[in-house]
């Protein structure tokens, strides 16, 4: 067997397949330059090249493919938001996710295990009823659960009335899911590369040139690149890149710390979150428990760890699942969350002509990857903002028309 495998590997008849184009020289001009080769940037490039016939595209990244917040999020996919605009947008994303493995011919390890959000007080139950009604009206599966049904769904959950914040009810979202986050960026990148898109890693944007109110070029560490259109998709650095184009954004960047335990046998099926104790948890198909919470209490461009935040996460998760007291934490990390005032993203046109924003992705960026890629590609190709993302344009803050999703986050309020 090992010799057979070796012969297979060395035969010229089965050459290694390169999924991504090898690094080439930067061209002088591209029709579209996308800043940020994460899930979102690659998705925009993919939909542009596959569905709009635009393939003179460069995707630039200062690091490596999918190495920013695409690699750092906790891979939750759900659409149980509160506003009509939010629910409709994320619903389309969840639908696209269902078929993404087929679309890529590449396994993104999609798992439909549902999501359970817990209520520990009356006002949360009221907001759950509201969300369930809005969700059902818009074709999203959400329903209120009583304690008995919760105990059947998650037998290991601590439903004791003696705990610090006893669990009163739950919001069950059968459409909730998870997927391997890296493969989403890889799948989009692979598909885009097959259609001629160039992905340039280790290519840092230093400046954005605006002439007569329109973007004309970006200056990188590898030289200047002229462009017809530029898109920024740099979660965690939205304000810094925006500032290069002279655009101020309604964003504060906070770290969000998460951690993962050693692998254990399968014991927890759905994703469970609690906005009261600020924690969410799910068990991956490898058996590890992924634990995350709210963002840090103040902004910072640094992914350092703090003991306070880890203590808070551990204490919260032990309230819900006391059996984890003996679990060993294997890794911890942080991502940078670009928080907007209304907990909704910023997509669409900017004050600079031909410069488009895909920003403000806070803690909700991964789940929106397919639909934001698809709609942003349509905007770039046609110049018209699709109805689905029209409410999320930057201009909404000047009209005082925020889309308040603060109450529908998984762990922070």
């Amino acid at each position: 067997m090992p010799i057979g495998l070796l012969k297979f590997g060395l035969r010229k008849r089965y050459p290694a397949v390169h999924q991504f184009t090898p690094q080439t020289e930067l061209k002088k001009h591209y029709d579209v330059v996308i800043i940020g080769a994460g899930g979102h940037g690659c998705a925009i490039a993919y939909y542009l090249s596959k569905y709009h016939g635009v393939n003179n595209i460069a995707v630039l990244d200062k690091g490596y493919l999918g190495g920013g917040n695409t690699a750092r999020n906790t891979a939750v996919i759900r659409s149980n938001y509160l506003t009509e605009e939010g629910v409709s947008f994320y619903r389309e994303s969840v639908k696209l996710y269902q078929d993404l493995s087929n679309e890529f011919n590449y396994n993104i390890m999609m798992e439909n295990r549902g999501q359970l959000t817990l209520a520990h007080n009356d006002s949360t139950i009221r907001s759950f009823r509201w969300r369930a009604e809005v969700n059902q009206h818009l074709g999203v599966r959400s329903e209120l659960l009583d304690r008995k049904t919760i105990s059947e769904l998650v037998p290991n959950l601590n439903l004791s009335e003696d705990s610090r914040f006893p669990i009163l009810a739950g919001l069950w979202h059968a459409d909730g899911a998870t997927a391997r986050h890296d493969t989403v960026a890889w799948g989009y990148a692979k598909g885009a590369c097959e259609l001629g898109v160039e992905i340039h890693q280790l290519t840092e944007v230093h400046d954005i040139i605006v002439e007569n109110g329109a973007v004309s070029a970006v200056v990188t560490n590898r030289g200047r690149v002229e462009c017809g259109v530029a898109v920024q998709a740099v979660a965690g650095a939205s304000s810094l890149i925006g500032a290069m184009a002279g655009i101020k954004l309604p964003i504060h960047s906070y770290p969000l710390q998460a951690m993962v335990t050693q692998p254990y046998k399968p014991i927890l099926t759905p994703h469970v979150s609690s906005p009261q104790v600020h924690v969410y948890i799910h068990q991956t198909s490898r058996g590890e428990f992924v634990i995350g919470g709210g963002s840090d209490p103040y902004p910072l461009y640094n992914t350092r760890a703090t003991l306070d935040q880890k203590e808070a996460l551990c204490s919260a998760v032990l309230d819900l699942f006391p059996f984890l007291a003996q679990a060993n934490v294997m890794r911890q990390w942080a991502g940078t969350t670009d928080m907007t005032p209304d907990y909704s993203p910023i997509m669409g046109e900017s004050p600079v002509k031909n410069y488009y924003l895909d920003a403000g992705w806070g803690t909700w960026g991964f789940k929106a990857t397919p639909i934001s890629g698809k709609t942003m590609a349509e905007l770039v190709a046609t110049g018209n903002t699709p109805d689905l993302i029209k409410p999320f344009e930057l201009e909404r803050f000047y009209r005082f028309e925020q889309i308040n999703e603060a109450g529908a986050t998984a762990a922070s309020h």
Binding site: A243, K248, P250, Y301, D308, Y398
Partner: protein, 96 residues
């Protein structure tokens, strides 16, 4: 635990404090255009480097200013708002 030096209460655990946003001069509410007002309310520099920002010692409701490096998380100095607002000047939150 990270320690923040409160101008009123001295060095205290950072969990006793609440972050209050970037320090910007409030435009005159009567004269400001809608655009200027929305920018004051919603928009931030969010820059990487030394910034001046509001903090509040939660237990005593005391608001003060801090200069902090948003890359290294070093607090350079903290000082009372009286250092930047002249006596009798309209401070934030006061209605003329």
């Amino acid at each position: 635990m990270k320690i923040l030096n409160c101008p009123l209460n001295g060095p205290r655990n950072i969990t006793e404090f609440t972050y209050g946003g970037e320090f910007h001069r409030m435009p005159d509410p009567k004269a400001a255009t809608s655009k200027e007002w929305s920018e004051y309310v919603f928009f931030h520099d969010n820059s990487a480097g030394v910034v001046t920002e509001w903090w509040c010692h939660t237990a005593t409701s005391y608001w003060f200013l801090a200069e902090r490096n948003t890359i290294t998380d070093e607090v350079i100095r903290t000082f009372p708002p009286g250092d930047v607002f002249a006596r009798g000047e309209q401070g934030p939150g006061t209605d003329a």
